[in-house]
Symmetry: C2
Subunit: 351 residues, 2 copies
């Protein structure tokens, strides 16, 4: 084989329409979804991938393990309310929690750019340590690579995580049923606006801080109270809208939510107006939605409210038996509209 020549693939992988990778392929919206559905899922197809969830749940001799990974490329590395290190630990802890798993172990892969100040690395490693302690997980293995100046951007972090799913727990889009309550754990948009504000040098009256936080204690509390949780999803890239549409499509269920019930901080709302953003599409790092059986929905809200991350938890709508797996939202003016997945890239490198 000559170097760099195209070779024939004995297992062809479908190619997408575009000729080049765009920022939006990593944005968590429609193009990300396309890349996953048309290239990655056909290439690696297996039962775990087909769960279309935040992480895979795999069986091992009677036990069920959750396994998940995320890379973090947030810019800037340090922002109001946190840094890339915290984000990288909390994000993967949260993906495990969204599988209904108790997070146990993390791996950390660092890609450093030559010239990164050692003090920056030190601070970020310190944040990872604190975040891991707070979430009760151990960083048990790691790897460090360094790329030459101009071939990276300070620091990228990958974390992968393993958690344990307790017997009887079955959480995922396919479990969602008509009548399920849709619970939002708190207000929207803090992380995205915090990043956007620093990056664009916007001066708001007071600083909006990222909501980055481990969600596992709140989720564990729901499980211990035996609430019938059908699906969980944290609201990262693509925001609440993309999360709901993804679950609707993956589970084949429709949903109806009410805009007036969705909490958005006044400052965040103001910033969104200035920036021309819809808070429903802005990224969060410490918020999730829970789909809970009707009889347990209000109890679940009560339990969440006892936890700092769920202080503002609220029931925002219901799963319906409308066909076509659509998500509709009644606006504050009482007008229904279709909620769609984020198309294009709203805020690149938000996590």
């Amino acid at each position: 084989m000559s170097v760099g020549s195209p070779h024939e693939l004995s297992c062809p992988v479908p190619i997408l329409d575009g000729v080049e990778v765009l920022l939006a392929h990593g944005g968590g919206g429609r193009l990300s979804h396309q890349l996953i559905e048309r290239m990655f899922r056909p290439a690696f197809q297996n039962d775990a991938l087909n769960q279309r969830h935040d992480g895979a749940v795999v069986g091992l001799d009677g036990h069920r393990l959750a396994f998940t990974t995320d890379s973090y490329v947030v810019h800037p590395l340090i922002f109001p309310g946190g840094d890339i290190g915290q984000l990288a630990v909390n994000g993967t802890v949260n993906d495990l929690a969204m599988c209904g798993a108790k997070p146990l172990w993390l791996s950390v892969g660092l890609i450093l750019e030559e010239g990164l100040p050692m003090t920056t690395l030190q601070r970020i490693v310190g944040s990872m340590r604190q975040a891991a302690q707070a979430a009760g997980v151990e960083v048990v293995t790691g790897d460090t690579k360094v790329v030459d100046r101009g071939k990276g951007d300070g620091l990228f972090i990958n974390t992968a995580g393993i958690g344990l799913v307790e017997p009887g727990v079955s959480i995922g889009p396919s479990q969602v049923q008509p009548g399920d309550g849709i619970i939002l754990s708190g207000d929207l948009g803090r992380h995205g606006i915090a990043i956007m504000a620093v990056r664009e040098g916007l001066a708001f009256e007071s600083t909006i801080a990222s909501d980055t936080a481990p969600l596992s204690p709140a989720v564990q509390a729901l499980m211990e109270a035996r609430c019938a949780i059908h699906c969980l999803r944290d609201l990262t890239r693509g925001g609440l809208s993309s999360a709901l549409v993804e679950i609707a499509q993956a589970g084949g269920r429709s949903m109806a939510i009410e805009e007036r019930l969705i909490p958005v901080d006044e400052e965040v709302r103001g910033a969104c107006e200035v920036l021309g953003l819809d808070p429903l599409y802005v990224a969060n790092e410490g918020r999730f939605v829970a789909f809970v059986a009707p009889q347990d929905a209000s109890r679940a809200v009560e339990i969440l409210r006892r936890h700092p991350v769920g202080r503002d938890a609220v029931l925002i709508g219901r799963v319906t038996d409308v066909p076509d797996a659509v998500v509709t939202m009644e606006s504050v003016l009482g007008v229904p509209r279709l909620v769609e997945m984020l198309s294009g890239e709203q805020l690149p490198r938000i996590c």
Copy 2:
């Protein structure tokens, strides 16, 4: 907290002497080792990390899981004998094999640079698929991020992997005993020279191809034959020398090897001479050393020789009871010399 201001760490992480990250911090040699020992291990200390092995072995209700991660930043993405996709699957499969584990599941985290040709991504995903099939592992979860042009280098891949360690298997530097045979699975330097040749535009008479390959089938064969394996290590960044010195130091044992017994292909040797490299420090991606109890050493060599990756397996020396955990090599001229860890960076971004 104001943005970007240094904050007090309640759990201080030690800082290293240098003020900036250098390429050599990712080279697998002395500076990598320093970063791990002085910053990462103190920050995240736990039993699994203290095994100082290629991956962590963690216990789960009577089972033992191996968990490992590696990021791949090789340049160029496609090289004689393989591409970054194959490398990313084989490398993590091999780290699991080196823990004595049967590799089961992989996660894949992609960091793409805006503008990467879709055809390149397609080829690399196809290679990952083939490599996963060949190694008998499933890619069960993944993540994709995109960074803006000029903030990455085409494509970086992180893979993390989970494997199962059979009962009774106990492999690691601390298990190494005086008298153990040191078996090298094949000839040295193919991967490093293949990359170097393309990158530097060197024209050798015929193309030297990377040795990238899954090592798990050969390792499984040793285990099934109940060879008393005490330690395994694949020879990636830093080459044979760094691997032996690391194990010697971690296990507190000395080793004596013979240079004349170490296979190096004639073309690779010639290229090393031209480039001023020592094959003992050049990276490999399909080679490992096994430390095997004296009574099983020659049987282990026989078993390895039945596998393509172990065709040239050979006993290159013994663990000794010399104090101070040193590695000595008798040169082809019969002169003993001390083998040291790679210091500085020989070949940046080799994997």
